[in-house]
């Protein structure tokens, strides 16, 4: 664990502070101010993303540091979209829990040394494949937070918002097509770069596991509707666990040697 004494590091820590402050303010029902500070954190993250892009001279989605930087930027627009169009709240948890947690690895764990793109990553599919995955991951993390609220027995008190179970379902429906697009574009790219759509590599297998868990969730929900809310919520939470496995453990644990060692 190391503190980054750079402009980029400073922006990450500032955004984390904004997200934490926003979470506290939103939890204390200071809605206007909380939303403002949350938005300020988002603006800071855009600045951090632009700084990183200019440093590395390509879309900063190559390594773990850049991936978490991107995730930290995406959380605010997802929160806004979910409230505006899906009637799902939870901004305090989004900012204070998801936002801070995804920025912590970028701020304290992963190296920010810039890297050139290896030949395999120089593809027009690089940005859409990774961007689709990052968007789906942050969306499905928010779905899982709603699902955890169901599992711990919380009830939605805001009449303008849908129930937590319904919220998890709506957000999962928002994230699943992106998860599908990420998976398919990855296979397509693998075909162009390596000659095989699928190599049974640990990263590929765990991304398939994530997709299958959500596929199972949609089938179970189609079969039973909201009859078993905890089962639905458990499946969404398991989906997030599979995503964390794909994103973190497969990349970092040495037992999973594969083709995605740079990812």
């Amino acid at each position: 664990m190391a503190i980054k004494f750079t402009l980029l590091g400073g922006l990450i820590y500032l955004a984390m502070t904004c997200y934490l402050a926003a979470a506290v303010l939103l939890a204390a029902r200071r809605k206007g101010l909380g939303q403002g500070v949350y938005f300020l954190g988002f603006v800071v993250m855009i600045a951090a993303f632009v700084v990183r892009w200019s440093e590395v001279e390509h879309a900063p989605l190559q390594n773990m540091f850049e991936v978490f930087l991107c995730l930290g930027m995406l959380i605010y627009p997802i929160s806004w979209f979910c409230r505006r169009f899906l009637r799902v709240g939870g901004e305090a948890a989004d900012a204070g829990f998801i936002g801070v947690l995804v920025l912590a690895p970028a701020g304290f764990v992963f190296s920010a040394s810039p890297e050139k793109l290896p030949p395999a990553l120089q593809s027009p599919l690089f940005v859409p494949h990774v961007a689709a995955y990052m968007l789906s991951y942050i969306i499905l993390a928010k779905a899982a937070v709603q699902a955890i609220a169901v599992l711990v027995g919380r009830r939605q008190s805001d009449v303008e918002l849908v129930s937590y179970e319904q919220g998890a379902y709506r957000i999962a429906k928002l994230g699943f097509p992106l998860l599908t697009i990420g998976l398919v574009l990855g296979a397509w790219w693998a075909k162009l770069a390596w000659g095989d759509f699928w190599s049974w590599d640990p990263k590929e297998l765990w991304s398939l596991v994530s997709w299958l868990v959500f596929l199972g969730y949609f089938h179970v929900r189609h079969m039973f509707g909201t009859k078993y809310p905890r089962l639905n919520a458990a499946l969404v939470t398991a989906g997030l666990a599979a995503i964390l496995m794909t994103l973190f453990v497969v990349n970092l644990a040495r037992i999973f040697a594969g083709l995605h060692s740079y990812a």
Partner: protein
């Protein structure tokens, strides 16, 4: 929902669950063993069962056929499964036996610059078959990124003070503790040691960059040291000084093979193959896979991975349908409902 439909759904959930468990288990096996597992005969049965259930689902669930998004996703799964099975090793075995083809599912072709080859081998070098045409390698090129920094000599003294210095031959630097004058007397692109233990520069592209330093001690003693970029421990002594030759390792940007395909009909076709830009010819795709130099002649060679294109159109069509279906089902219908102020799907 009828009892049959419910059973069918349970069967799909069970098979998906089994695939999930196998995928988790496969991730611990490593790529070769996982590939062998998923291509084994019991798994072939599994894939057929999954395809059968998808067809049965499309037949028995009217809803599935009426909703474009659901229909697209289930058809997509069938197409991907069918295409992948047709293009698999087993699929090729069946096609070769039934249709009398001699298509090799995948392998490697190694070609030296200026030569031609049509031999497909495995990763281990076993012969798998022959291409019905030959590939000649006109030229193999590696494009590099510009170096991110200039080569430098780093000297760390007894007090861990660091000096970073340019590597110009003839430059002298004074170190205070221990007191010594350091002079760069020679720079090597490829340092080599001959049979008589003489050190020489093999020249060419830098393969073993090194510096020769002369250390002039206050006692009048003169000493030479070789500092090798890729072997940082070489040339170090226990005298309070540490030298490092920081060499910007060239980072490849692209590997490109310029080839000529000599078809059986006498026609020759030129093409280039680079990473992410394969070449297609007569039922096969060629991908840039590896490269090297003949250790004796120094002639560069390229290794192209070869993959049969059987089943490819079905898989690609499945991919497009899968993405389109997911977007249609999960986004387009609820968005339509939202904007027309109707109730969303499944709410």
């Amino acid at each position: 929902m009828t009892r049959f439909q419910r059973m069918e759904l349970w069967a799909v959930v069970a098979l998906s669950g089994l695939l999930l468990v196998l995928s988790m288990a496969g991730s611990f096996l490593g790529v070769p063993r996982a590939a062998a597992l998923f291509n084994s005969w019991p798994l072939v049965v599994f894939w057929f069962l999954l395809a059968f259930l998808l067809i049965a689902g499309l037949w028995s669930f009217k809803q599935l056929r009426q909703r474009p998004g659901s229909l697209m996703m289930h058809l997509a799964a069938l197409l991907v499964l069918g295409g992948a099975m047709w293009g698999s090793i087993r699929g090729h075995e069946v096609a070769n036996n039934l249709l009398g083809e001699k298509k090799v599912p995948s392998g490697y072709v190694q070609i030296s610059e200026g030569e031609a080859n049509n031999l497909i081998t495995s990763n281990a070098g076993d012969v798998l078959g022959h291409l019905p045409f030959s590939l000649a390698l006109k030229k193999f090129e590696i494009e590099y990124y510009p170096p991110s920094f200039k080569p430098t000599l780093e000297i760390v003294d007894r007090h861990e003070r660091q000096m970073v210095l340019p590597t110009e031959v003839g430059r002298k630097f004074a170190v205070t503790d221990p007191q010594v004058e350091v002079e760069i007397t020679r720079s090597y692109a490829t340092l080599m040691v001959g049979e008589d233990r003489e050190v020489f520069d093999a020249g060419g592209a830098p393969r073993n960059p090194a510096l020769k330093l002369r250390l002039n001690w206050p006692s009048g003693q003169t000493e030479f040291r070789y500092i090798i970029a890729r072997f940082p421990e070489f040339g170090q002594k226990d005298d309070g000084l540490r030298f490092s030759f920081l060499w910007p390792e060239p980072r490849p940007k692209q590997f490109t093979s310029s080839v000529i395909v000599n078809g059986n009909n006498g026609h020759a076709v030129s093409g280039t193959i680079s990473v992410n830009h394969p070449m297609h010819y007569n039922g096969y795709h060629f991908y840039q896979s590896d490269c090297g130099e003949d250790p004796e002649t120094g002639t560069p060679y390229t290794v192209l991975s070869v993959t049969s294109d059987s089943g490819l159109p079905a898989v690609l069509a499945g991919f497009i349908l899968l993405m389109g279906g997911a977007v249609w089902h999960c986004w387009a219908r609820p968005a339509w409902a939202f904007f027309t102020r109707r109730r969303g799907d499944g709410d």
